[in-house]
Amino acid sequence: MVLHTKIKHFVAAFAVALLALTNVPVARADDLPEYRLAITPTVQDLEELQPGETRTGTFSIKNTGKQDFNFTVGFAPYSVEGENYDPNYTKTTQYTEISEWISVDQPKGFLASGSETMLNYTVKVPADAHGGAQSAIITVTMDNKKSGDSTAVETVRQLGYLIFGNVDGEITKNGKILSNNVPGFVSSAPLTVSSIVENTGNVYTRAQYSVQVFPLFGDEELFTNEEDPEKSLIFPETKKYNAIAWEDCPSLGIFRVKQTITIFDQTDTVEKLVIVCPFWLLFVLILLVLLIIFWIISRIRSHKK
């Protein structure tokens, strides 16, 4: 009972200390960069949108640098290319029309050093909007001061607030698991499993990846994310590469590794034996075995003579 009270007191003291710490500036003013812009939060999943619907939201922008600056808010299409999801902020597609549907209450403004303002945005989905995913970024740009008289290049720094959703209508939910790779041999940690999934439908989804690692004999899990599987956003008509690493993998061992991937109603599971062994040790062991074989053969031959 006394122990319980002590623990409660400790937790209360820790929480108070934590709250106090959050109000302590992390960096001294001297350490601050000249110009720094922050936004929080960073992304908004609008989930399901109905044609004709109006949705509102808000996010904060902060000047966390030394100098004051003006800012400008803009909107850009957001799409991705390649399996590594290279972003494209200029290409317009049927999935980026939402960049035309967004407005904000402060298209321009001023931020003094250390100050913060809230940006309220509105998404007006047209009544005739087609079904499927939509994605865009709201850009917040630090305006620059005028340059001098020599040849100069201006750097425009901006942050993107990612906003996406699925418009209801004619939608298709299809996906493929193109690869599910568990390596058979790993020379050093981490033990990494990888995969590529494809969203062949017209709505975004989250693919789910779960990994379990067991010893060669036995069912005790050495590593797993099964209770909180990794989820990755997959935009329509894209392929995405994903990798999950077991960072604390020992330097030597034989394990049973199982990766399960799910996208829409497709599920694929691969289970494999994985040998973890450094190359130098493998070389020494092979050499040792060869020498022993050679020694045994030579002994047998000498006995026959």
């Binding site: 999943d45 290279d86 972003p87 200029t90 850009t139 290049v153 607030y161 050495l222 020498l291």
Partner: protein, 186 residues
Amino acid sequence: MSKMVKTIATLGVVAGLGISAMPLSAYALEDSETVNLNVQVGEMIEIAAEKTNIDLGEVSNTQNVTGGTKIKVRTNVTNGYTATIRASQRALETADKVNTIPNVKPATGVSGWGYKIGSITDIMAASTADTQFANVTSVTPPTTGSTDGDEYDLGFEVSVAPNQPAGTYSGSVILTATANASSTQP
């Protein structure tokens, strides 16, 4: 003892010592009383720069000019961030837009301009397409104190041909950082 046996014994010792020196799996279970503590930390992303304009000075047909600044990106979003660079227009231009330095890779005696940053390690011709210079796919929680985020050196180079009209040329690049959508977001 023959040489063969000695060699086998030596290799055996090397392998044995090597294996014993390795951090093999060790999994300890312990029983203890747990107290749950929940605290929510909001997701944020920041971009910072030392300078807004990079004055490159005077360029001649025999001497290219270079210059640059540092860009920092910091986030606490678990899945990291993506950062891109693109030129806002193809060419460096005079104020009246009559004369231009095109977006070709700079070389002595040839008019051109370009940049490098992050994973773009060699000066490339300025491109109006978004080019990824950083793709940090996960953010490691800091072990002590604060972290400054990731710092990138942004470098520019401009070269001109002997017949490049005199004047002041300027242009701009757009650096965009977005947080990668994570599984914990709604």
